[in-house]
């Protein structure tokens, strides 16, 4: 069953006060409610980690956007997660400059080290591994983001250190 059909059988959850406050703030910046749809998805994701069917229904109701339209937006953008992700999301650039600079080897290294490939999450929930189009830091390729942080000139040793540092934070 597709997400859309599944979500209609579910109930909206209640948006938290903080979520509502942040969505209201965004509404001041745009002339209509529909424009706030993506912002609302991002706000919910920031607080919940991902966007569940129940969250989708809640936003749809709050902003008076049809669930179909909202799903159309949610599934369109790379950075809106409609499935749970780990505490740290690795956005791994696999576009052309990083490819030339050997990102394939780095991908294999992460794969071996964490036991996950693109689209997967480690069993302990520490990391989700996702590909991302060109991160715009091509003179320091290969690069990847972990959470909000950008990591450049990746090497196998560097990746080991990066992973350890995020594990320590959790």
């Amino acid at each position: 069953m597709s997400n859309i059909i599944a979500s209609t059988a579910k109930r909206a959850r209640k948006l938290t006060e903080v979520e509502v406050e942040e969505i209201e703030h965004e509404m001041e910046l745009y002339p209509d409610k529909q424009a706030v749809g993506l912002e609302a998805l991002k706000i919910v994701q920031k607080h919940q980690g991902w966007v569940s069917d129940e969250s989708m229904l809640a936003i749809s109701k709050y902003l008076d956007i049809s669930i179909g339209d909202l799903e159309g937006v949610a599934t369109f953008f790379n950075l809106v997660y409609r499935r749970p992700v780990g505490r740290n999301v690795i956005l791994f650039c696999n576009s052309v400059s990083c490819w030339i600079m050997g990102c394939k080897t780095m991908r294999t290294h992460i794969n071996n080290k964490l036991g996950i490939d693109f689209g997967e999450t480690t069993q302990d929930g520490d990391f989700t591994f996702l590909p991302v189009p060109c991160l715009g830091d091509c003179d320091r390729a290969p690069v990847m983001m972990v959470g909000d942080d950008l990591h450049r000139n990746l090497t196998k040793d560097g990746i080991d250190q990066i992973i350890t540092s995020y594990k320590a934070k959790d």
Partner: protein, 426 residues
């Protein structure tokens, strides 16, 4: 004389200049000049005379674009000025430098552009992954409000302007200006049919200008130092300076502001330091992933919009991607095709179905299963996905490296078929 108007304040080893330091280095002088009596029509004329062309890729004259916005009592009073900061062209890393390095320059440029078309609201459409840019821009915007460069009655001009930072959530197609407008309106970011052009009916149906970050950053210098100064910067036919970048296996990859019109060789050798030891230059994409390959024999061509067009490619974003002689050209084109297939919005059939098919064939080549028939299908797609066949420019952009790659690397494609493997994998 200022020779690097875009990067004169940028030093990435420290945070960007705050508003006072920025003002002390001729910052916001253009707004003072406007307050001193330049009408929107005056500014439009100056920008037209400057010859500034869009730096986002298409190279369309900025003043001409602005002149299509209806003005006067019968025009809609609500107009929008939108900055395209959705930098996602593969191999392009110039707008990030400007936004992280000198956010006030962009804000000053936005005020000039918005004043010229009389837009009271401006949106910066920023790539969601550009977290540092977001932070720097928001801080600078708040400083600009405090000093009266934004808000009501800016510097006594009677002109009002608010700037809003919109962070996107990652889709290359949002760089296409009509798709960007749909995304800003909270819709799925499919491109719109043109006409009507955004200049007449854009964001929420109102007259809208969409300009690239680097384009907008050219404006403060033009107004502050004048058209003659701007014309003196170039070494070619097009005016001004440009950010040029190099990535790939070169000694010193990076991004530099240089006059338009310098030879490509100068950029690669004097600034980039030449290829890494033991490697030769096989080919390069001159301005991001959707430009045609050029060859070492083209190195003496000038970095100029028309000169590069003469050899069948585009200056586009000015950020070059180098292919060395030890990296598989088929693999490189295949990587680009995977990107374009993934980033297709899925609205029109040739792009939605054609690009994944092309991608799949490149996978076959990589795993040694490519055939002559496959090669024929790739050649067909250069036409099927080319200009005029699709709803927007995404798929035609993909045919640039595909078509030129098939032409320049035909021996490599054949080797993959004959040896039933990638000859570059050892």
């Amino acid at each position: 004389m200022v020779v690097k108007p875009l990067t004169k304040n940028i030093d990435m080893s420290r945070p960007p200049l705050d508003i006072s330091a920025y003002e002390n280095n001729d910052g916001y002088q253009s707004i003072k000049a406007i307050a001193g009596g330049l009408s929107p029509a005056d500014v439009l004329q100056i920008v037209k005379d400057s010859g500034l062309k869009g730096r986002g890729g298409a190279g369309f004259p900025t003043g001409l674009k602005w002149s299509f916005v209806p003005q006067g009592d019968n025009s809609p009073s609500q107009k929008y000025f939108v900055v395209n900061g959705d930098e996602m062209e593969p191999g392009t890393f110039k707008d990030r430098l400007l936004m992280e390095g000198d956010p006030h320059l962009l804000i000053e440029g936005i005020i000039i552009g918005a004043y010229t078309i009389q837009a009271n609201t401006a949106y910066i459409f920023l790539r969601g992954e550009y977290k540092v840019s977001e932070r720097m821009l928001k801080k600078a915007i708040s400083e600009a409000y405090t000093k009266g460069y934004l808000g009501k009655n800016i510097q006594g001009t009677g002109f009002n302007l608010d700037i809003i930072v919109h962070t996107s959530a990652g889709r290359y197609i949002c760089g296409e200006e009509t798709a960007l407008l749909n995304a800003l309106e909270g819709k799925r970011a499919n491109p719109r049919a043109k006409p009507p052009f955004p200049q007449v009916s854009g964001l929420w149906g109102k007259p809208t200008i969409v300009n690239n970050v680097e384009t907008v950053c050219n404006l403060p210098g033009i107004i502050t130092y004048g058209v003659n100064w701007y014309h003196s910067l170039t070494k070619g036919n097009d005016h001004g300076t440009k950010l040029f970048g190099i990535s790939g296996k070169i000694k010193r990859p990076g991004c530099w502001e240089l006059p338009l019109g310098i030879p490509i060789r100068e950029l690669l050798e004097d600034y980039g330091g030449g290829m890494r030891d033991g490697l030769g230059l096989r080919a390069f994409l001159p301005g991001g992933g959707s430009t045609d390959f050029m060859l070492p024999e083209h190195l003496d061509i000038k970095l100029d919009y028309d000169e590069i067009a003469k050899v069948g490619s585009r200056l586009a974003t000015g950020t070059m991607i180098l292919l060395d002689d030890q990296t598989c050209p088929v693999g490189m084109v295949g990587n680009l095709m995977k990107f374009f297939a993934h980033e297709s919005c899925g609205f029109c059939t040739p792009c939605r179905d054609g690009l994944p098919w092309v991608d799949e064939i490149f996978n076959e080549f990589e795993s040694g299963r490519g055939t002559e028939k496959d090669l024929g299908i790739l050649h067909e797609h250069v036409d099927y996905l080319g200009p005029g066949r699709t709803f927007c420019a995404l798929a035609p952009g993909a045919t640039a490296p595909l078509g030129s790659g098939l032409k320049y690397f035909s021996e490599d494609f054949k080797k993959h078929i004959k040896e039933k493997r990638c000859p570059y994998e050892h």
